[in-house]
Symmetry: C2
Subunit: 432 residues, 2 copies
């Protein structure tokens, strides 16, 4: 009988798992150094939690695996990590703020099955809950930069913007209803993928005319060094080439404050301003950002997020500002796989010329492992040449050979598998 | 609105997660040093995989969360990790043997909700697939011993036995049908919890008479040092005080071979023979064992397993011997929680006397983090006394205070939070 996996799920093979575990553990170390603490929430949640205001709305509801449990209650598999954190916050109102948490875990979404699109995958989030200050935005962004540097992903750019700035421009153009604003944001979010005609058509759906669309496009094409672009906008405002109103002013002040903090954190050069970044989702309220790896732009953003000051309060009833990022661990691993040697390796393989030396081999393996080396040996009673084949599959860097002549002299032969060089070593020196 | 968790699930709070992550990562290091490689399989599997012969039988089927997916196919949440590994093996017949894998992951079972009984929990398994040799049994047992030592659980005993020995004794007493044998094993497994009368009654269900039951009880009460007990059985056989047949002989030879290997691995003293250990499950075929932590016997076995040579072949069609252990990570964490200081700690907290020093504080935090220290600071624009309260909640070991007088002299004040001792440090020395 041949069993099979559910479509859209996958096995993570040992070779891939080793790279994954190393990468996740490096990122966690950075998060902990920066004062983020781990939280784990259940993979299954009540349907009212998943489908409620805490959730991502009707679109995500359709993709959420849900079913009646044995007691007849509707439950579901989490489709993201934030919803569990918000449920946790609603049950623990005594948590001291700011709450800086990280979480790595599996989520499930029933999406159309395509190459590279999975129904079960991992998310890796950090959030700072409870602070309105741009200090918190600077902290999550600089933490993400430090994490990406730590895993040696190569050069990258954090492109950032403020939804308030875009909303201010839209308001200035008399686009004010919630429906129009959300529609405009969604359109701006996918502008790079659309032709000019398609863009007009999209905007038209939300009653945004061509003349307004042109003004929007004009405002959101600004892109470049963060501090420089902000100065250009200020200069343009003076010449009446860029609109001014309360929202725009709030947005610019926040960006200027953020730029100062990012400079102190030493990550300003990794960041750029991009007025077209808005993130599609309705719940962002302020700073938003995406991260593009220079050598792999086609893969899309590997680390995105922003400020969402309204979402948590809607659930908990307590005004709770928040800013968070989600590291796209699957995309990051795809990039790292191409550049990292993640072959399975082991320091030593202990081989016996005949099985009478089996117990000696165990003692030698034990001696090497006790000194912290990874070490393997035959567990099948195989002959010497089959042991050699297995040693190669294990990626053994060194071979210890236990044979009768050496053994009589109290020795084993140590072979460096790369150079082929052989040396005699006293058994007593290894086992000691 | 107050949201709530599904009964039988839980949130893993930061303090508990820190201990969990540290423990899991220590155990993984031991596994990798011993040549085990990580494998991750999906949390959701097809119902035919979960319910089939690969699975745990009707009893577990009843406890498995299952439902129709959006395409109308029945799928379910895994109730253990082995079933996914067996499905993986059936899809990858080219894997070189022995396959030594470890896996840490979530599983789900709909069991009656009781204190300390969860419907979602973690399992942590190692298995060696493909070797019939007692070397493999010795390798998993000694690996478990090394892992438990590495996490400093304290003294413990691995109690072990061989199902072949028990089956041999039962056969000798004319208990031979599959139903009788499985019933007898299940009864022996729970003998410690039953009164003598209840034991007879249990055996009676499987047509095992009082006189047979007495003989069984007599044989399975042997317990003590592994090598010593094996010698006693050999001596008893000579005096016809212990039965002999092919199965008993096979079982004893395996145990004697295992004892020799365990001695070479240096873990013989941590092991004892206990003829009453059989493990309830039908699929074990040879060596079985449980592990009891000396200072916490009441919690039950923290690490159990055994040899299951028949299960995988039934699915894959290829004869595949296997031996594995499952570390009871939840029980282990319960024990460690009582003895380990797992309070959240951070090396430094940078406090500012007034917000004008905010950017200086960021630079100092950055300097400390760059040197590998964990470091926190205020992200809320709070006054000094509220920063102190937060620093305490973060478990700061040291405080760096940035104030006007020090700053004018190019200094900050460093305060050791345990001794209260204060020293001046040059800012240039930290930021450099």
């Amino acid at each position: 009988m041949k069993l099979s996996r559910i479509k859209g799920t996958r096995d993570y093979e040992p070779k891939d798992m080793i790279l994954r575990e190393k990468t996740v553990s490096t990122i966690k170390s950075v998060y902990e150094k920066r004062g983020f603490v781990p939280l784990e929430t259940p993979a299954i949640e009540k349907w009212e939690t998943l489908a409620g205001k805490a959730g991502g709305g009707a679109e995500i509801e359709k993709q959420t695996y849900n079913f009646l449990d044995f007691g007849g209650r509707r439950i579901g598999l989490r489709y993201e990590l934030t919803v569990g954190m918000v449920r946790y916050l609603s049950m623990n109102s005594n948590i001291s703020m700011p709450f800086k948490r990280y979480q790595y875990g599996r989520v499930w979404r029933y999406e159309e099955y395509k190459q590279g699109r999975y129904r079960e995958f991992f998310q890796f989030d950090i959030d700072i809950i409870g602070s309105k200050s741009m200090l918190a935005d600077a902290e999550v962004i600089s933490t993400a930069v430090e994490a990406l540097d730590a895993i040696q992903i190569g050069l990258f750019t954090v492109a950032l913007n403020n939804r308030k700035l875009v909303e201010g421009v839209l308001n200035y153009l008399s686009i004010k209803s919630k429906k129009q604003l959300e529609g405009a944001m969604r359109t701006i979010d996918k502008i790079a993928k659309l032709s000019r005609t398609e863009i007009y058509k999209e905007f038209r759906q939300y009653d945004i005319e061509k003349v307004q669309a042109d003004e929007i496009l004009n405002a959101i094409t600004r892109k470049g060094k963060l501090k420089g672009e902000l100065k250009k906008i200020r200069a343009a405002q003076k010449k009446k080439d860029f609109p001014s109103n309360k929202k725009i002013e709030d947005g610019l002040l926040e960006l200027e404050s953020l730029a100062g903090y990012l400079e102190s954190f030493g990550v300003l050069n990794a960041c750029e301003f991009d007025a077209s970044i808005v993130r599609g989702l309705a719940y962002y309220t302020g700073i938003v950002f995406e991260t593009i790896v220079t050598k792999k732009k086609s893969i899309g953003s590997v680390c995105s997020g922003g400020r969402y000051d309204d979402s948590i309060g809607k659930i908990t009833g307590i005004d709770t500002p928040a800013v968070g990022i989600s590291i796209g661990i699957e995309r990051i691993l795809d990039i790292l796989k191409e550049t990292t040697d993640s072959d399975i390796k082991i320091d030593y393989f202990v081989a016996v010329v005949s099985t009478e030396f089996q117990n000696e081999a165990i003692k030698i393996a034990r001696g090497l492992r006790n000194r912290g080396f990874s070490c393997e040996m035959d567990l099948m009673g195989r002959n010497f040449s089959n042991q050699m084949k297995y040693a190669n599959k294990c990626g053994a860097k060194n071979l210890v050979i236990v044979g009768p002549k050496d053994f009589a002299e109290g020795n084993v032969t140590l072979k460096d598998m790369q150079t082929g060089k052989e040396t005699k070593v006293l058994i007593a020196d290894i086992i000691a």
